[in-house]
């Protein structure tokens, strides 16, 4: 049994050690907003917040996350920064199929909060670990830059 906090709720999971965190979130808890692309830590679709920082849920094992605080895309519904990012993603056409979007948003929120002065080159560098096969990234970069600019006022 593994006890951890998911989106503010203490949760006990009965999963074997081989189960990675993303499968535990999706299959056991029904939190299907965390997407699985490559399952080896390259594509970023499964990015969640783990103990306050972005992490790959496909290469973290749920049993090794005992005691951790996990926040999935569902857990950001009432987050003000995420609300700004959602609006900017809509305005700048920062998604098409939406598969990469949960991971993109969690990475984007980290960029906005951690690097408030980020310019376009820095945003692109920070996004290198999240692959999008629809947008060519321009809309995503524009959306993040718009939120950064708005917050700088």
């Amino acid at each position: 049994m593994t006890t951890l906090t998911v989106n503010g709720i203490e949760t006990t999971l009965d999963v074997p050690p081989r189960t990675h965190l993303a499968d535990a979130l999706r299959e056991t808890l029904g939190l299907t907003g965390t997407h699985l692309g490559c399952e080896h830590g390259v594509c970023g679709a499964c990015t969640v917040e783990l103990d306050g920082s972005p992490a790959r849920a496909c290469i973290a094992f749920a049993a090794a996350c005992a005691g951790a605080v996990v926040r999935t895309i569902e857990g950001f519904e009432y987050d003000s920064v995420m609300a700004e990012l959602r609006a900017a993603f809509t305005a700048h056409h920062a998604l098409q199929c939406g598969y990469c979007t949960p991971g993109m948003l969690i990475t984007a929120r980290d960029i906005v909060l951690r690097i408030p002065g980020a310019d376009e080159a820095r945003v692109r560098r920070e996004l290198a670990g999240n692959l999008c096969r629809c947008t060519g990234y321009q809309g995503i970069v524009d959306a993040i830059l718009a939120v950064l600019a708005a917050r700088r006022g």
């Binding site: 074997p16 050690p17 081989r18 990675h20 499968d23 399952e39 080896h40 830590g41 970023g44 990015t47 783990l50 920082s53 972005p54 992490a55 790959r56 496909c58 290469i59 973290a60 094992f61 049993a63 090794a64 005992a66 990475t107 980290d110 560098r125 920070e126 290198a128 670990g129 999240n130």
Partner: protein, 259 residues
Amino acid sequence: MKAAAFDLVRPRTVADALAALADGARPLAGGQSLGPMLNFRLATPERLADIRTLAALRAHAETDDTITWGAAVTHAEVEDGRVPDPTGGTLRAIAGHIAYRAVRNRGTVGGSLAHADPAADWISALTALGGSVRIAGPEGEREEALTGWMSGAFATQLAEGELLLSVTIPRPRPGARLAYRKLCRKEGEFAMAIAAVLDDPARAIRRVVVGATDGAPIIAEGADAGPRAHAAIDAWPGEAWKARLLHVSLDRALGDIAA
């Protein structure tokens, strides 16, 4: 891909961890290399010991002459300056270009040194600085210099049942410089070529490390370390295009020192 079945133990002390390793467990730290290997079933251990949160491995310390990072210090902690950087920022910058932030938040310095991917950053950078690692095992603790650490790709002096505890880095003296260059086609991917050069005139040290050689790094020391490293690349048995990249990265790092 999904990992094959394994058991997981979570030791609370180094002694418990060593007991688990003696019992056949393999160490799991940040899991940013081992996780993919498990998912691909390139690694199929029966038991893993989760050492990521062991207090002794999370610590860091400083003396007048050295800094020490616990093996489970993460790349992001180095990047953010949450542990001391004896180079005045070069190691922070190197950390900031390892993989991606989500990986740096979990991946550990000790895990990188123990995994010993030839194209990883810490192997080359900390070897250039003259670093050494502290290892605990059934026979007690010992130190190993990083200059002799790798015996080949993914092969080190770490023996079965041993645990990497920390890495200690001598402080460069005032006026010293560490130059570090790597060539990647995409931000965050493993390097195709790495060159690290330490120039520390006050200690009369010039050490050149050429990494991403598909094996142990090329190491040259002394005033003519640059030319000797270039000669070693010429004698290196890999493909010509890759040797060319090694030469270019070395030229750039030597140019940084000369600038």
